[in-house]
C-alpha cells in the first residue's frame, strides 16, 4: 500500500466532494460535518460516468452517504456499499490527513 499526496486539506470542503486522479484512478474525496474524510471510486457504476464526487452528502439512518447525481442511488461513504442495490459497491480507498495534506492509498 502506498500513500499519495492529493491536495491540501481545505480543498476538500465540508459536506461536499471533490474528484482527484490518483495514479490514473478517478477518486471521489468527501469530508463530512464531523471532519471525517472518505475516499471512494468516482465512477458511478450505474451510468459509467465520473460523477460520484458531485453527489449530495448526507446520512441514511445515521450511516454517512453520498447520492449519485446521475440516478440518485445512495452509497455508504464508509463501505462504498450501494444502499439501494445489494449487488453494487463502489471501491473505497484508505485516506488520511498529514500536516494539512490529504493522502490517499492505493494497492
Amino acid at each position: 500500500m502506498r500513500w499519495h499526496a492529493v491536495c491540501r486539506e481545505p480543498e476538500v470542503p465540508t459536506e461536499f466532494g471533490v474528484a482527484a486522479l490518483v495514479r490514473g484512478h478517478p477518486v471521489a474525496l468527501f469530508r463530512t460535518g464531523d471532519d471525517e474524510l472518505f475516499a471512494l471510486g468516482n465512477v458511478d457504476p450505474f451510468s459509467g460516468a465520473g460523477v460520484i464526487s458531485r453527489g449530495i452528502v448526507g446520512d441514511r439512518q445515521g450511516e454517512p452517504t453520498v447520492a449519485s447525481p446521475m440516478h440518485k442511488q445512495v452509497f455508504s461513504l464508509r463501505s462504498g456499499q450501494c444502499l439501494d442495490d445489494p449487488e453494487t459497491r463502489l471501491p473505497t480507498y484508505p485516506v488520511r490527513c498529514r500536516d494539512g495534506v490529504v493522502e490517499v492509498a492505493t494497492g
Binding site: L21, G24, G48, A67, H71, V74, D84
Partner: protein, 847 residues
C-alpha cells in the same frame, strides 16, 4: 382483429364504449370503427358550458393520445351514418361508402326539442347541445341586450348562465310553476328562483312562449309570452327538453320505444342479435335516460357482452343530478318528489340563508328514499350513496348545512354505496386500494380506480375515505424532517433561520440527504439574497444547481442560454454558433424556444459563460426548480390575427420571474390570440390575448401526466395580469409540496381552482399584499447566477475535473460523431435499477 365493431355516434357514451373495449379486449379480437357526425371527436358534453368562458374545444376533448394512436380504433370524424342494411350487415355513410359490421352499436344521443312556436325557425333561434351551437350563440350574442332561454330545467339554467357570461341580460321562460320542475319540489323551487334571480337572471315561471316575432333584419326581434309579456331580443335559446335520435330506425326497421328511442332489453340488445343501442338514444325496456352516468353503465354492459360473451345487464339509474352553476347549489337524488307509497318528508328551510333541504324517507322513517338540496348541496355526496339504505343518524342532523353540523362523513356509507357515480366506483373499491397500500393520496385513487376523474364532485369523499383509513398521507419530507415542505417554509419565514445546519439542528435529525437538502436550499433561496453557491448552500444543491448547468449521461453538462420569450437577434444566433464551434459542443433547438449546447466539461463551463456574458446573454435554467421559459408567439407585431403584443409580454414575464426558486419547475406561455400558437394552456401559467386584455390560465403541464391549464381570470390589463401572476406564484411557492407542479398543487385544495381564485384574485385570506411584496423582493434582488461565479475565484476553483490535476480531462468522457456533431461514446449503461422503490426515476430527474 378478425371482427369489426361499428359504433354510430362518437359522443360521450360511444366514446366510453371504445375505452371499455380497449381495456377488456386483450386478445385484440375487435377492430372498432367509430362514426361521428360532429366536426369534433367526442368531448365532455356535461362540461359544455365551460366552453363559453374558456373558449377552447380541446380542453373538453375526451380523446387520449393512447386512443388516438391505437391501431385498433378508426375514427371517422365528420362522417354520419345514413342507413342500415341489417341483412347485408352494412351501414351507409355520408361519404357515399358503406361499412360492413359484425357488431353494430347505436350511440346517437339526443337532439334538442324545439317546441312548435310560430317563428321558432327565424335566424337568431338557437339550441344548446354541441360546440357548434355554442359558437353560434357566442357569435350572435350582443352584450348589454336581453337574451331569452326557453326552458327552466338544468340545461336552460346553464344556457342562461352562459348568456350572462357573454354579457347579456338573460331571461328564463318555464311553463311549469317552478324552475327545474323535474328535480326540485315547490319549496326548493322558491329558494332556487331567488338564487337564480340574484345572479341577474330574470325568471318567468308558469308561462309559455306564444310566438317569436321577426325584427327589422329578418331575424328574431322579440318574443311574446302567453301572459302578454313581450321581450325585445335578438337571441333565443331553446332548451325545452331532448328527443332521442332514432332516425336510423326507419331504414333499418328496428323497433322504437313508445316515446321514441331504439327499443332494447336490459342488456341493451335490440331484436337483432348483431345490434345494440346505448346512451340517450336507447329506450331500455322502453325508457330513455337523459344523463351520462346511466349511459356509461350501458356501455360497460355492452363491452362485457362483446368481449366476454357474458349477458351483463344495465341495472337502471337513479337520475341523481347536480346543477353546475357557480353560486347556485342544487342537487336532487332518488325519489325526490316523495312519490313512493307512504313516503315521509323531512324539510329544513332557512329563508334568511337561502337554503332548502328535504329528505324523503320510507313510512317508518328509517330508510332514505331520496332528497332535494338547494342553496347548499354539501351533503349531496354523502346522502346520494345512502339512498335505499338505512339512515346513519337523525334526519335533522343530516340536513343541517354541512358547515353547521360538521357534515356527515364517508364512514357512514355502506360498503356497496356508489361513491363516484360518473365511473360507478363503490366505496369498497376505494377502501380496498387504500388498505392494500397501493395508493397514498387522491391522485393515486384517481389513477387506480378512475373515481374522481369525471365531474370531480366525489373528490372530497375520496379525501374523507383516506382520512378515515388513517392514511394521514405522511407529509414528512424525508427521514430527516418530520415536516412537509410547506411547513418548513413557514418555519423558515417565522424564525428567520438562514442555514440548513441550524434548521436541521433545531427542527430535524441527522445530517440530511439528497431529498431535504435541495428542498431546503430552494426554501432558503426565497428568504436570503446570497448566491446559491455561497458557503454551506453550495453543498445543498443538486448537482445541476451546484454546477449551474444540466448534467448529461456521460457526466458532461449542457448550457441553455436564456432567450427571453424566444426572441433572438441574428448577431446573438451567430454568437451561439461560434461558442458551440469553439468548445466543440453539440447543438439542438429545444422544445422551450431556446438553443441547447451539450457536451461541456466542468472546467469549460465558466469559459463558456464568459463568452455568453460578453455577448449580452446569461445562461439559463433548464435545470433547477425554477422558472424555465416563457414561450411566445409573434402576436400583433407580425401576425395577421394577433390582438395583443404577446412577445413583449412574454419577455416581460420571463425577466420578472427568472431565477425564482419553487417546489418544481415553472413553465409559461403567452399567445397573441385564441389560436394559441404558444401552447400557453399546457403551461403552469398561460396567458392568452383577448380583444380586451389577457386571459390567465393556470395549472397546465406536459410531461408524465399532461394537464390543460384552466381559466383563473379574464380580460386583465397588463398590470392586473402581473399582479395576479405574482400572487399565484408566491402562493404556490409557499404552500406546495416538494416536486408538486401547479396542477397537483391546485388539485390538493378541497375546492381546487376555486380556492386558488379566492386567495389570489379575491384576496380571501388577506395575504395578497404580502405575496406581492415577496415577489417584489425577488425581482429586486435578482442577479445573474452564472455571471456572479466568474467574479469569484473561490467558486471558480470548484469548476475542475480533478482537484489535483486541473488540466487533465476526465478519462471517462469520450465522444463519437453522428450527423456531423459529437455524441457521448455509446456505452452499455446498466439501466437505473428500480431498487428499493423508495423513489421513481421520473420523480427524481433533477429538472
Amino acid at each position: 382483429m378478425n371482427k369489426t365493431l361499428v359504433i354510430i355516434g362518437h359522443g360521450m357514451v360511444g366514446h366510453r364504449l371504445i375505452e371499455e373495449i380497449r381495456e377488456r379486449d386483450t386478445a385484440e379480437n375487435w377492430r372498432i370503427v367509430v362514426l361521428g357526425e360532429e366536426a369534433h371527436p367526442a368531448y365532455d358534453r356535461v362540461a359544455l358550458s365551460s366552453y363559453m368562458a374558456e373558449t377552447t374545444a380541446e380542453g373538453l376533448s375526451l380523446l387520449t393520445p393512447e386512443t388516438r394512436r391505437d391501431r385498433r380504433v378508426e375514427l371517422l370524424t365528420g362522417v354520419g351514418a345514413t342507413a342500415i342494411d341489417r341483412t347485408e350487415r352494412r351501414v351507409s355513410i355520408t361519404t357515399g361508402d358503406s361499412l360492413h359490421y359484425d357488431a353494430l352499436v347505436l350511440a346517437t344521443g339526443s337532439r334538442p326539442f324545439v317546441p312548435p312556436v310560430p317563428g321558432a325557425d327565424l335566424p337568431g333561434c338557437h339550441v344548446y347541445r354541441t360546440l357548434e351551437d355554442l359558437d353560434g350563440i357566442r357569435a350572435a350574442a350582443s352584450p348589454g341586450t336581453d337574451g331569452v332561454v326557453v326552458g327552466g330545467g338544468l340545461l336552460g339554467l346553464e344556457a342562461a348562465d352562459a348568456l350572462r357570461t357573454l354579457g347579456m341580460r338573460p331571461h328564463v321562460v318555464e311553463v311549469a310553476p317552478r324552475l327545474m320542475p323535474v328535480q326540485v319540489d315547490e319549496g326548493g323551487g322558491a329558494v332556487l328562483a331567488r338564487l337564480v334571480g340574484d345572479l341577474g337572471i330574470e325568471v318567468h315561471t308558469g308561462v309559455a312562449t306564444a310566438s317569436v316575432h321577426a325584427g327589422e333584419h329578418g331575424g328574431v326581434g322579440s318574443v311574446e309570452l302567453t301572459d302578454g309579456t313581450e321581450i325585445d331580443t335578438g337571441l333565443l335559446v331553446f332548451s325545452a327538453g331532448i328527443r332521442p335520435r332514432d332516425e336510423l330506425a326507419d331504414s333499418s326497421g328496428l323497433p322504437r320505444g313508445e316515446r321514441g328511442g331504439f327499443l332494447v332489453d336490459g342488456g341493451c340488445r335490440t331484436e337483432d342479435p348483431h345490434v345494440w343501442a346505448i346512451g340517450e338514444c336507447a329506450a331500455v325496456r322502453g325508457q330513455c335516460h337523459g344523463l351520462v352516468a346511466p349511459g356509461y353503465r350501458m356501455a360497460t354492459a355492452v363491452a362485457e357482452q362483446l368481449t366476454g360473451g357474458g349477458t351483463a345487464e344495465f341495472e337502471g339509474a337513479d337520475g341523481a343530478t347536480k346543477l353546475k352553476l357557480v353560486g347556485v347549489d342544487v342537487a336532487s337524488f332518488g325519489d325526490a318528489h316523495g312519490t313512493s307509497e307512504g313516503a315521509l318528508e323531512v324539510v329544513y328551510a332557512n329563508n334568511a340563508q337561502g337554503t332548502y333541504a328535504k329528505l324523503v324517507l320510507d313510512d317508518d322513517a328509517t330508510t332514505l328514499l331520496g332528497g332535494v338540496l338547494v342553496g347548499d348541496a354539501g351533503a349531496y355526496d354523502v346522502l346520494r350513496p345512502l339512498t335505499g339504505g338505512p339512515l346513519p343518524g337523525p334526519p335533522e342532523q343530516l340536513l343541517l348545512p354541512a358547515s353547521q353540523s360538521g357534515g356527515p362523513t364517508a364512514g357512514a356509507l355502506p360498503d356497496e354505496a356508489t361513491v363516484c357515480s360518473c365511473h360507478n366506483v363503490r366505496k369498497t373499491d376505494i377502501t380496498e386500494v387504500i388498505s392494500s397500500g397501493a395508493v397514498e393520496d387522491v391522485a393515486g385513487i384517481k389513477s387506480c380506480t378512475k373515481a374522481g376523474t369525471g365531474c370531480g364532485s366525489c373528490v372530497p369523499m375520496l379525501k374523507n375515505l383516506l382520512d378515515e383509513a388513517g392514511v394521514a398521507t405522511s407529509d414528512a419530507l424525508c427521514e430527516h424532517f418530520p415536516q412537509s415542505r410547506s411547513e418548513l417554509f413557514e418555519i423558515v419565514r417565522a424564525t428567520g433561520i438562514t442555514t440548513f445546519s441550524r434548521l436541521i439542528a433545531e427542527y430535524g435529525t441527522g445530517r440530511g440527504c439528497d431529498i431535504c437538502k435541495p428542498a431546503v436550499a430552494s426554501i432558503l433561496a426565497g428568504s436570503t439574497t446570497s448566491h446559491i453557491l455561497d458557503d454551506e448552500q453550495a453543498g445543498l444543491q443538486d448537482t445541476n444547481d451546484r454546477f449551474l448547468a444540466n448534467m448529461q449521461r456521460n457526466g458532461t453538462y449542457s448550457v441553455v442560454p436564456r432567450v427571453p420569450g424566444g426572441e433572438i437577434t441574428p448577431d446573438k444566433l451567430i454568437t451561439l454558433g461560434q461558442v458551440a464551434t469553439e468548445f466543440g459542443l453539440y447543438t439542438k433547438i429545444t422544445g422551450g424556444q431556446r438553443i441547447d449546447m451539450f457536451g461541456a466539461r466542468v472546467e469549460q463551463l465558466p469559459e463558456i459563460w464568459r463568452r455568453l456574458v460578453e455577448a449580452g446573454f446569461e445562461s439559463g435554467h433548464a435545470y433547477g426548480k425554477a422558472l424555465r421559459t416563457v414561450k411566445s408567439c409573434v402576436g400583433t407585431d407580425w401576425c395577421r390575427y394577433g390582438v395583443q403584443d404577446s412577445v413583449t409580454m412574454a419577455i416581460r414575464l420571463e425577466m420578472r420571474y427568472r431565477g425564482l426558486r419553487a417546489p418544481h419547475k415553472i413553465k409559461a406561455g403567452v399567445s397573441g390570440c385564441a389560436r394559441e400558437c404558444a401552447e400557453a394552456r399546457s403551461k403552469d401559467f398561460g396567458v392568452i390575448a383577448t380583444e380586451r386584455g389577457w386571459n390567465l390560465y393556470v395549472g397546465g403541464n406536459g410531461g408524465f401526466s399532461p394537464r390543460h391549464a384552466e381559466l383563473l381570470a379574464s380580460d386583465l390589463t397588463d398590470e392586473d395580469l402581473i399582479r395576479v401572476i405574482d400572487r399565484f406564484l408566491m402562493f404556490y411557492i409557499r404552500t406546495a409540496e416538494r416536486l408538486q407542479r401547479t396542477a397537483g398543487w391546485i388539485e390538493s385544495f378541497d375546492n381546487g381552482l376555486e380556492h386558488v381564485r379566492e386567495v389570489v384574485v379575491e384576496d380571501s385570506l388577506g395575504i395578497a399584499a404580502d405575496l406581492e411584496a415577496a415577489m417584489a423582493r425577488h425581482t429586486e434582488n435578482y442577479t445573474d447566477e452564472w455571471g456572479a461565479v466568474l467574479n469569484d475565484p473561490e467558486k471558480l476553483s470548484r469548476f475542475v475535473s480533478f482537484v489535483n490535476a486541473p488540466d487533465s480531462p476526465d478519462p471517462t468522457i469520450r465522444f463519437t460523431e453522428e450527423r456531423g456533431q459529437i455524441r457521448p461514446e455509446p456505452t452499455d449503461l446498466p439501466m437505473p435499477v428500480p431498487t428499493t422503490g423508495r423513489k421513481t426515476v421520473t420523480e427524481e430527474v433533477s429538472a
